[in-house]
């Protein structure tokens, strides 16, 4: 199972076993990772699963889609170069070890 590492704004790391095909948002929710809310249930509508993908994974993860791009502008935490919505990143074997930072505020 690929692992995903969530780094909280306090530096706390949470390592989660994720299923291939599930999203970075749902893996976080399933494992109670703090700071990821996923209010809209993964519909690319609410911007409460904002994560910042660590640079070494950014190429493999890729950039945001059109709606996601708009939501990242409108959400509560300033976006950064590697900002994505967790619900729009599907986990693959290749993304094993994926590390993302979780902003202090989602709503």
């Amino acid at each position: 199972m690929p692992k995903v590492v969530y780094v909280g704004s306090d530096g706390d790391e949470r390592v989660v076993d994720a299923a291939v095909g599930e999203s970075v948002m749902s893996a976080a929710l399933r494992n109670g990772v703090p700071g990821i809310i996923g209010e809209c249930g993964g519909n690319n509508s609410c911007a409460t699963c904002h994560v910042i993908v660590r640079e070494e994974f950014s190429a493999a993860v890729g950039g945001p889609n059109d709606m996601e791009d708009d939501l990242l502008d409108l959400g509560v935490t300033d976006r950064q170069d590697c900002s994505r919505l967790g619900c729009q990143i599907a986990i693959t074997e290749e993304l094993d070890g994926l590390t993302v930072d979780v902003p202090a505020h989602q709503n």
């Binding site: 809209c40 249930g41 519909n43 509508s45 708009d70 502008d73 409108l74 959400g75 509560v76 709503n107």
Partner: protein, 426 residues
């Protein structure tokens, strides 16, 4: 959800604000033509984009829109005497023409020279159809007159009403681009309202409570497609155009006139809904116009100041029995008041940091982002869209399409307004 700074950016439209400057690049409805019905009629107060203005129609039929207050010592020109091609302040007799230029200062000995130096801020205002449109921006940036189809059809084919809505303009706009509420909030009216009932589309509307939304960019704003199940291998699409910053159209139903709105900021906590109904190929019937005047369809029954008779002071004449019987879903009568009662209930400016957006809010999310980007780009000198005639020749569309077809392909040129072309409707 929307962060606080962006909520403020989008909702504040006074002079000097980013969104206020954006609005000042567009001709906006400021009065119904019926409010200045004849030459030398009483002047009318206009508050728009947080500016207090006075409108009048002079002895020659010219329209004037200028600062409400006399340059002398600030008395309101609403008390003025509208006579002999000018509006005269009754305090000391100072008189202004439709451009705001003082043309007589009878209280002063040196009348001529001093008079020439006095000019009130003024804006161009023109009559298109049954509405007076004004442009409040930099004269050097004034766009061509708007060419909304509703205001280019032959006489007798359009009817416009206005209604005070006691909340910020964006709350009202967001209702206009959210098709998913129609099935719930307006469900009862699809069967009973004379300007809505009897179309096949209504059956599809009521038969599918979970529309799928697809939002597509177009030159002047967005096309918001709401898809519902129709027959086994088809979908019923309702396509709402939104043109920056505040124009929306409702998809048509049957051969009824098609309607739409301008959501015009009065100040940050109030707006006017200018609601029009027009038919592209025929005159409105007497029965239709009578229904519109009576507040049916998207219109409302109002007092002399255009405030709805059902308003927040009387709980919008809530009828719990009608709610229970299912005649109306919310208990409020009339489509316009069903919308405004809920939008006003959110407060003057809703705190969007607390909202919980879902997939059916896609149109709202995209519209906010377009508005924000347009306001910020204007600060960098990038001219906005939506104020060009080609952006305005747009129509709403209702159409049944094969399930595999994308709606933009399926409607094709149906969304382009052309004189005499029948609208595409179900």
């Amino acid at each position: 959800m929307l962060r606080t700074e962006i909520n403020e950016l989008l909702t504040q439209t006074g002079p000097g604000t980013p969104m206020g400057e954006l609005f000042r690049r567009y001709w906006q409805p400021v009065l119904l033509a019926e409010e200045l019905p004849e030459n030398d009629c009483p002047p009318v107060r206009v508050k728009v984009l947080s500016e207090r203005l006075i409108a009048f129609r002079d002895s020659s039929g010219r329209y004037g829109l200028m600062d409400e207050f006399c340059a002398h010592r600030g008395a309101s020109l609403w008390f003025g005497r509208n006579e002999e091609n000018g509006l005269r302040c009754p305090y000391h007799g100072w008189k202004y023409d439709v451009t705001g230029q003082a043309v007589d200062v009878p209280s002063e000995a040196d009348n001529g020279n001093f008079c020439a130096s006095v000019k009130l801020k003024s804006y161009p205002m023109v009559k298109l159809g049954d509405v007076l449109f004004a442009y409040l921006g930099d004269p050097a940036k004034q766009p061509p007159l708007p060419e909304w189809e509703a205001y280019t059809v032959p006489e007798g084919q359009v009817f416009t009403s206005k209604r005070l809505q006691e909340c910020n303009w964006l709350q009202a706009l967001e209702g206009g681009i959210d098709s998913s509420h129609v099935t719930f909030l307006h469900g009862g009216n699809l069967e009973s309202d004379p300007l809505f009932k009897g179309s096949k589309g209504n059956e599809y509307n009521k038969g599918d409570l979970k529309p799928f939304f697809e939002v597509v960019d177009y030159e002047g704003g967005l096309l918001i497609g709401a898809r519902r199940n129709a027959e086994e291998d088809t979908y019923y699409w309702r396509v709402t155009p939104w043109v920056l910053p505040n124009f929306t159209m409702v998809p048509p139903r049957g051969d009824h006139p098609v309607h739409g709105h301008f959501w015009v900021p009065i100040d940050d906590e109030n707006c006017w809904a200018y609601s029009f109904d027009y038919h592209p190929t025929r005159k409105l019937t007497d029965v239709e116009v009578a229904a519109m005047r009576a507040g049916k369809g998207v219109h409302s029954a109002n007092d002399a100041a255009y405030r709805p008779l059902a308003n927040k002071d009387n709980d919008y004449l809530m009828d719990r029995e009608a709610q229970r019987r299912g005649e109306t879903y919310s208990g409020i009568e009339g489509i316009a008041l069903q919308d405004s009662s809920l939008q006003e209930s959110m407060g003057p400016i809703v705190d969007r940091t607390k909202e919980r957006l879902v997939a059916t809010d896609a149109g709202i999310i995209k519209a906010r982002q377009k508005l924000r980007k347009a306001a910020l780009a204007l600060q960098e000198g990038v001219e906005p869209v939506g104020n060009r005639p080609q952006d305005q020749k747009v129509r709403s569309v209702a159409k049944v399409l094969p399930r595999e077809q994308a709606f933009v392909d399926g409607i094709g040129e149906a969304m382009r307004a052309e004189p005499g072309k029948p609208h595409t409707t179900v």
